[in-house]
Symmetry: C2
Amino acid sequence: MNTLEYIKSLQTRASAALQTRLENSPYSARLGDAMHYAVHNGGKRIRPVLAYASAEAVGGTLADADSCACAVEMIHAYSLVHDDLPAMDDDKLRRGQATCHIKFDEATAILAGDALQTLAFEILAHPEENRDPALSLEMIETLAQASGWHGMVGGQSLDIEGAGKHIKEDDLILMHRLKTGALINASVKLGAISTGLASKDMLDSLEKFAECIGLAFQIKDDILDVEGVTEVLGKQQGKDQTLNKPTYPSILGMEGARTRMQALFDEGTQALSIFGKDAEKLQGIASFIIERKH
Amino acid sequence: MNTLEYIKSLQTRASAALQTRLENSPYSARLGDAMHYAVHNGGKRIRPVLAYASAEAVGGTLADADSCACAVEMIHAYSLVHDDLPAMDDDKLRRGQATCHIKFDEATAILAGDALQTLAFEILAHPEENRDPALSLEMIETLAQASGWHGMVGGQSLDIEGAGKHIKEDDLILMHRLKTGALINASVKLGAISTGLASKDMLDSLEKFAECIGLAFQIKDDILDVEGVTEVLGKQQGKDQTLNKPTYPSILGMEGARTRMQALFDEGTQALSIFGKDAEKLQGIASFIIERKH
């Protein structure tokens, strides 16, 4: 199986696992529909894919990582729903479809995001999902740290504060390390932790890999925002510029941004050397991330 | 120590415990400030008080319940911040102070709510907060179930759907059982679970108590909304009527609502009989809840 086929099989597995965990509709059908819409929106499932590949790299199975793959994607989906709100980025289109608050309404979108966050933690805590309480607890703590005030949400807040301001590269890196890097990092770590097979050395290597790839992912996003065409991206192109948000191309120039991305890719994949051939798939995913067209 | 003194001591303890857990400011100072503002807003700390009293009723200590007392209050605080948003109830005043999105801005309020939810789960998962992973996991699952799509957020969604509609008492009970009852119920259960001393019988009795008191609490809220004066309530009086939301007085009449509240109080306190004198404080808190003036 080549990398693209592997990624596709993991995307399919993630979508099916998410579907199963969203079947038990709540009393409020509208809320359930909005949560479903937010999760099944044609996303690339990068975070679940990383969790699955990481579980396999340390010698575990895909089944080990099903629950954390769903949890990280639910956190990601909730953050997009809230990010798109009029008070935040005010986006009407995501991946070619109406954003959640356009398809439903603002109140429903706020609640659907809230409930998706809760469900991420509920899934990790559910006795049927996991065998070892200590591992489950470690996964919950890792996910919470990555997605809360010292992680993703903290980065979103810095992003809003930084709009319209001239900031240094260090501040931009900090913002992205929190806003997108932390959850990508957590996805890789959770996949490894879920197996119960990850040593301290393995986790350290994976963390280094994830940190580099997370930043490379963000630089690619910024590059695509300048280069991409709205139809391919499925969202408004040049949005960052319109909002006057600082980006890598705006600070480093287009060529500088590309060079930085490649250097991060090299550093990240080198960190996987202790895994030998077992990390080939993770490396393939890293290539996919920096070569993607949207 | 009489009941009022006991409640006051628990309120003070809860505020101090919350303060400790909010000290580690994030990179985004604005986000940290908004979270702090949302939690320290002069609230009655009913949920932490119930958690503490429940821990003592089953023979545990107040220290056992510190982390869950903070977690339930953070969930409650986040839900108020999001509930007050313009797209939801559009409230400018809460407990006599500007609501979070008025004091800061809408985007910050959305993010502060999001981060408070995350922090609730992070606290329960933190190794320093708890000794037994299995108990911590049970607490996280209980809190997630109570606050997510099948609990609090589900109830908020039903509340929005029901505005302006004529609904039956059963539907109103369901909405409130989810919107406020589930988290009150979880507060009582978490306090008991946190001690590691709660038997199945104890948990069942506490659950019955909490279910009755949660509904009585909501009826009292509805009564106060009709009767209360804006200055005493610290929020706009008659707000439910303005929004045309169904309430107990609107369905049962004022006298019928009072009778129902008293019957629930009696049923709830009877459920505590297996605890004997150990439940006196919990009973006192129940009286406080239905006799409060705001």
